[in-house]
Symmetry: C2
């Protein structure tokens, strides 16, 4: 005989077993939550995480070829073409023919694009404050360091 007004408590409680010791599983869950946080913070901008990262990377490295930016972020050429087209349509990115190699295209932010990225620094800062809030200061630095270690240790050849 269960209480009619509530679910049986253990019906919704799951045993995660070894999943709680699986780096891949925890990375996946953490990453999904990081996306949620991004969408919550960037609600007003219509921006997706991948798009905004592309804008930031172009801003830091103006004049680089589209393929170089794409490869660094593991975005496939076909997808990159469409993503950049959206950013061009939004007025944030400029494409320019490369004189030395006329097959390729170099990217840079428009004035609007740079202004947009600059303006989102505040949003980014708030996101970081929220991210840091569950950690002691040295713990946050530690997780960044360990993630970078994992990334460097598992480098792909491309």
């Amino acid at each position: 005989m269960n209480l009619p007004l509530r679910d049986t408590p253990d019906e919704d409680t799951l045993d995660f077993g070894d999943l709680n010791a699986s780096l891949g599983f925890l990375l996946r869950v953490a990453q999904l939550q990081a996306f949620d946080s991004f969408y919550a913070a960037f609600d007003a901008t219509q921006m997706k995480p991948g798009e905004f990262t592309v804008l930031r990377l172009i801003g830091l490295n103006p004049g680089r070829r589209q393929g170089v930016i794409a490869k660094a972020l593991r975005i496939k050429p076909a997808h990159m073409t469409k993503l950049i087209q959206r950013m061009v349509d939004a007025g944030y990115v400029e494409r320019e023919a490369t004189p030395e190699d006329r097959r390729s295209v170099t990217l840079s932010l428009t004035r609007d694009g740079q202004r947009f990225v600059d303006h989102q620094q505040t949003t980014l800062k708030n996101l970081e404050i929220k991210d840091r809030s569950g950690f002691a200061p040295e713990e946050f630095d530690q997780i960044l360091t360990l993630l970078k270690r994992y990334i460097a240790g598992n480098k792909r050849d491309d």
Copy 2:
């Protein structure tokens, strides 16, 4: 005047700036590499990370409703239906009508499903050894702990 046989070194070298201090960005990159590792390790099985995690979770919690498993893994109902159908077709999962609530369905592993999951423990162990290889033992435990902290601190309401 550049050497003709190589790209200019700095042409491919990008400044990542603050992205190297962004938890969200590092989580994303690390997670993509974790998927790569999974696919490399589970090459022979045709299994995807999400599918295998569902199998593991069902194995740990037989007889739970499909919706409970789905929600725990943030899989949307529509997607879950198709994923479970694939697992049923593969002979790994059994669906059973719930007597108390005939709208719902409970899940369990078939004997083949349980055998499959058990058999992949070796693959999983090898993956973990590879994951641990870049870390000191206490560092690996630390990254698991910190990821769990992040996950708990950013819990969604649902």
